[in-house]
């Protein structure tokens, strides 16, 4: 499955990339699977996405508050809690 991953603000800087379009290995079907896969990169990925760290996830531009099944070409964004206004 191919997805588009976007990173914003502090996470964009820490991950040193704003976006990537990985082909996910078979077996990665949910958001939780994807986050585990990203944590397995180690380093800042494991650190920033560790349990208890504050970050938000949007799938296709909607905030997601629980696990979700991923689909081909989904746009998945990871970012810190928002601070506008």
């Amino acid at each position: 499955m191919n997805v588009r991953l976007l990173y914003f603000a502090r996470l964009r800087e820490v991950f040193a990339t704003g976006q990537e379009t990985p082909e996910l290995p078979p077996g990665i079907q949910t958001l939780a699977d994807l986050l585990d896969w990203l944590r397995q990169r180690g380093g800042v990925w494991a650190e920033e996405l560790a349990a208890g760290r504050a970050y938000r996830v949007a799938i296709n531009q909607d905030l997601i508050e629980q696990d979700a099944v991923l689909h081909e070409n989904d746009e998945i964004a990871l970012f810190p809690p928002v601070t506008g206004g």
């Binding site: 914003f8 964004a77 601070t83």
Partner: protein, 153 residues
């Protein structure tokens, strides 16, 4: 309804006038103007940089206005949020709500602002004499949004 994310300044008077001039049903317009302060947590801020998530930002703001319309009488509304580099004293956000009566206009304006602070994908980075840093989200903003029911996140 007007939703705009822009780097340029906006004209508060013109935006408020546009909400009521052509609609005699409007009896009240409440506007909120947010400004860049020069002091945040004890350090002088020289520049505030606003990053956002193009596409999602506009969608999230439109949804917040729609949520307000479901709860109160909102005849029209304008939300303008600036992005890019801003200096202290500059306007950063405008929320203006037109209604038949002041009660709905006041409460809908506050609701939109509270939800904007916790649901619209903007991030502030402050530059001070000590360097740059990302602004942390405030729990008080989550609590303000949670007052309205729902998670506020």
């Amino acid at each position: 309804m007007k939703i705009a994310v822009q780097s340029e300044a906006f004209d508060l008077n013109a935006e408020v006038a546009a909400l009521h001039q052509a609609n005699p049903k409007v009896g009240a317009v409440v506007s909120f103007l947010g400004l860049v302060r020069d002091i945040n947590e004890g350090q002088g801020v020289s520049t505030l940089s606003l990053e956002h998530y193009p596409g999602m930002t506009e969608k999230a703001l439109a949804q917040i206005v729609e949520d307000a319309r479901q709860r109160w009488e909102v005849l029209d509304a304008t939300v303008i949020h600036r992005v890019g580099a801003l200096q202290p004293t500059e306007p950063i956000v405008l929320v203006a709500v037109a209604s038949g009566h002041r009660g709905d206009a006041f409460v809908a304006c506050e609701f939109i602002m509270d939800y904007l602070k916790t649901r619209a994908p903007f991030w502030k980075k402050e530059a001070t004499a000590e360097g740059e840093h990302w602004v942390d989200a405030r729990e008080s903003d989550d609590r303000a949004a949670a007052r309205w029911g729902g998670s506020g996140k």
